[in-house]
């Protein structure tokens, strides 16, 4: 699952169409579009708006591991108009704070520093893209997610030869549309990473069946989760089931019985190799 943040509706429109996203009326604070795998929020211009929207979305579904991607247009002194560039360093111009998205996936495009400014600047910065959202987006998203799953992908919309006067809504739509393959490639990589992280963090499914049958305290629930995780590591083909423990009438006895069975399990690594 991936959360995408754009500042403007025109940056979002090509993505809404490409991924066939539907409006989600549940979110009233921001315009939100989604399908089963992609959730897109239009946050408005500026790092504060980006941070607010990111935190809002993260807090609305804290259970799952989402990847985060800020997509939008950005300026750069020398890069050609229409080039997609992934941020490898995000600098907040106002505070000087630097962040480094963790790049563990193949990058299908160039990568470069991205500086987030509070208001449009008359001059371009040397060797850095310039936008108005990424530092707020990154600062907020990194409260909820690991840096490998938070990225900012920008399409160069203006440079020292073609200034911002040439940018229109239709132009922004075209710039995003022209890079949809690159964007999709980044999204796919991030979704895979998010799925991997989700599977690592996953609670064993049987825990709910055990909790229905016996009453576990919060402490015991944690113990049960760890024991079931051990069970899956030792005998992945034979998941535990509550009916194997029906002779035990309280949670403490069940936990002791599970632990006893696990401790008696022989450990062989050569079986795992086959």
């Amino acid at each position: 699952m991936i959360n995408i943040l754009t500042a403007l509706p025109c940056e979002a429109r090509p993505l809404i169409e490409h991924y066939r996203l539907r409006g989600n009326a549940r979110h009233s604070a921001f315009r939100c579009y989604q399908n089963d795998e992609v959730q897109l929020l239009i946050c408005g211009i500026g790092k504060l708006a980006a941070a607010t929207a990111t935190a809002y979305l993260a807090a609305s579904e804290p259970q799952r591991s989402y990847a985060w991607l800020n997509i939008g247009i950005a300026g750069h002194a020398t890069k050609p108009i229409g080039e997609a560039v992934l941020a490898n360093k995000i600098i907040d111009a106002a505070t000087g704070q630097q962040s480094f998205p963790g790049i563990v996936m193949p990058i299908p495009c160039a990568s470069e520093t991205l500086t987030t400014v509070d208001k449009p600047e008359p001059h371009y910065r040397e060797t850095s893209m310039v936008d108005m959202e990424a530092s707020g987006f990154y600062a907020a998203a990194s409260r909820f997610q690991s840096c490998e799953l938070i990225h900012a992908l920008k399409i160069i919309s203006d440079n020292q030869h073609h200034n911002t006067d040439n940018i229109s809504e239709n132009r922004a739509i075209a710039l995003i549309n022209d890079n949809i393959i690159t964007i999709e490639s980044v999204i796919n990589e991030l979704r895979q990473l998010a799925a991997e992280l989700d599977s690592i963090k996953q609670t064993p499914a049987e825990i709910y069946a055990f909790m229905e049958q016996w009453r576990f305290t919060t402490y015991q629930q944690n113990e049960l989760r760890l024991l079931l995780r051990r069970w899956h590591a030792l005998t992945p083909a034979m998941p535990p089931a509550p009916h194997d423990f029906t002779e035990y009438n309280n949670s403490k006895a069940v936990l002791a019985a599970i632990k006893g069975r696990l401790d008696a399990q022989p450990i062989r690594f050569d079986e795992a190799n086959k």
């Binding site: 490898n88 360093k89 630097q98 480094f100 963790g102 790049i103 563990v104 996936m105 193949p106 990058i107 990568s111 520093t113 990194s142 409260r143 997610q145 690991s146 840096c147 490998e148 799953l149 990473l193 991997e196 992280l197 690592i200 995780r229 051990r230 069970w231 899956h232 590591a233 030792l234 992945p236 696990l262 401790d263 022989p266 450990i267 062989r268 690594f269 050569d270 795992a272 190799n273």
Partner: protein
């Protein structure tokens, strides 16, 4: 191949930075103020980074040489370690580095000269004592040799320090520099082993046991003194057979006369590191076994530890004299 190289601004023009970067012409260079901005930040995932570790080139300002932990040694009274590199190319599931560090990126401290000066100064402080310096604590000593040129740069330092011994601890086949160099008496190339079955399951990316033995044979033929490290010993049902086979496999190829030391160590991980490792790899069989906590360390059960140590020790005694044997277990 690295996609990204992070470079501390202060070492951007260091000749070693330039030569390392030249090996990765396609990598994107990203400049930072301090390597900790990338290496020590909170929100990062070691397991995901292990898929594609970045390289970080940095300057080590202080503590170039540190006291080795208790139980880390092969007979010397004064044991030190130094780390020109943090993290390992290999991905051994039992390795404490994955629990100790938040990042799987490789840090190379390019100011080798400061490490060398500290080593010389430490050796000169104790001119009448035998000192041991271990280089394979936070990384594999040889695995990244083509990039770091670590042995090429550090062997000359030890060549001129007769009271300082260097242990290169490794699982690597990168022995070209050693085979090109004149062996020095005060250097031991120590290879770590677990039996084939365990290595295949837990030592990801590590050369096969047989390949490591071949590398040792070449080094021995060239005159290098060798060490054998069975540390940690990993338990599986029927461990006796697989360890017996491993010892046979090794000692049928190596001459004991050129072996400097053999050490055995039990699996022991600080509790906090162990917890991090389990959280990274919850489906890993290694962590699902029976462990207990002893003085803040997660270990196998005492009886099992004893059983494994005694068995392996007895087996080793068939091949080596007691004088070459060292138990790497911290005092209780």
């Amino acid at each position: 191949m690295h996609q990204v190289i992070y470079i501390e601004e202060a070492v951007a023009d260091h000749p070693r930075t330039k030569s390392i970067c030249a090996r990765f012409p396609k990598a994107t260079k990203v400049y930072c103020k301090h390597y900790g901005e990338i290496f020590n930040r909170k929100a990062q995932n070691f397991r995901l980074q292990k898929k594609q570790p970045a390289l970080i080139l940095a300057h080590k300002h202080t503590k170039h040489v540190l006291d080795a932990p208790d139980g880390y040694g092969v007979g010397g009274r004064r044991n030190y370690y130094f780390s020109h590199m943090l993290n390992c190319l290999y991905d051994c599931r039992y390795c404490f580095l994955q629990g100790m560090y938040r990042s799987a990126n490789y840090v190379i401290f390019v100011n080798y000269e400061d490490f060398q000066q500290s080593i010389v100064a430490t050796a000169q402080q104790h001119p009448n004592e035998e000192l041991w310096f271990f280089s394979g604590y936070d990384c594999d000593s040889l695995a990244y040799e083509p990039v770091t040129e670590f042995t090429k740069e550090f062997l000359p330092t030890f060549r001129q320090l007769p009271n300082a011994h260097l242990e290169l601890r490794t699982k690597s086949l990168q022995i070209r520099t050693l085979l090109k160099s004149e062996p020095i008496k005060n250097c031991v190339v120590a290879y770590s082993f677990t039996p084939d079955e365990i290595s295949q399951a837990l030592e990801h990316g590590v050369p096969a046991v047989e390949k490591r033995i071949e590398a040792m044979v070449k080094l021995q033929q060239h005159g290098w003194r060798l060490g054998l490290r069975f540390d940690p010993m990993i338990y599986q049902q029927g461990f006796e057979q697989i360890y017996q086979r491993l010892f046979e496999q090794i000692f049928s190829r190596l001459s004991t006369s050129g072996i400097h030391s053999v050490s055995l160590g039990t699996l022991r991980t600080p509790k906090a590191f162990h917890q991090n490792m389990v959280n990274l790899y919850p489906k890993e069989k290694l962590f699902a076994g029976r462990f207990e906590e002893n003085c803040g360390m997660i270990t196998y059960q005492k009886e099992l530890e004893q059983q494994m140590t005694e068995f392996c020790h007895d087996q080793l005694m068939q091949y080596i004299p007691q004088s070459l044997f060292f138990a790497c277990t911290p005092p209780e």
